[in-house]
Subunit: 138 residues, 2 copies
Amino acid sequence: MTQKTSNYITKLRNSKLRPTKQRIKICEALFDRSETFHFTIRDLYNLLTNNLVHKISLATVYNTVHAFKNSGYLKQINIDSNNNYFDTNTSHHHHFFDETNNELIDLKNEDIKKIELKKIIPGKKIKSVEVLVKIEPE
Amino acid sequence: MTQKTSNYITKLRNSKLRPTKQRIKICEALFDRSETFHFTIRDLYNLLTNNLVHKISLATVYNTVHAFKNSGYLKQINIDSNNNYFDTNTSHHHHFFDETNNELIDLKNEDIKKIELKKIIPGKKIKSVEVLVKIEPE
DNA sequence: ACCTAATTTATAATCATTCTAAACTGTAAG
DNA sequence: CTTACAGTTTAGAATGATTATAAATTAGGT
């Protein structure tokens, strides 16, 4: 077994999932990359079923992606109600979004000046601060 | 005809919509308010059909809200894929979102220190910068 | 190799949203 | 004031994403 595969098995076990053939294939599609990967469930499903002999059902893709999201191995990005994206970059960061081609680009936390709020909500604490920068051709 | 009603008719005409009974009712529900109103289409539909004798169809609510969004009289707020909100506050501002009760709170642009990006995308210009602050009980 | 609980899968169900086409209405011309 | 017609409303159908179901299959321990 390769180092990569045993790494996937660890991720799966940490997500309370047994390492099955289908889930390993999903891990390969998601994590065997040099760049971060922004995708919709449909993107991932198409990628998996176009390239592989053994089909993986849509339900399994949904279940596995959501388990990884819940265990912190994937981040969900909220752009708008039409596009539900996930991100393999789980560090604290933000995004550019180009609506002309639905392209997402990471904006590293250090590439944005610290966000300072002058307003607080009594009885509430801040859970997260997300910035979305929409861009368009010049 | 009241001042308010003629204001609604102006909004409708500017949105390329004829002022019909249904659309005036929708305007009253949306714009006859002292505070900004955050709502989903379903919220608005329930509000309209619970309180009024004459029913308004869901399709008309969708059509009218989207026309107002396109003409700039409403702003769409992207929280997550489950909740598609609209906002009667069309000024440049941001939001707090409390997931425990799905409550949205405005964060005025002057209540946040100017956001400065150290990264640019060649060939692209910035269209909008949206900040979403998720909060939770302390 | 067996047992059992977890998993996969096709399919159905659900939910938000959009589409459709027939009935209705606002508007402007006569 | 009436008419004509394009715009509007509406119920219901269609769509598309997501979730649920339940029967067949599989993983992991004994």
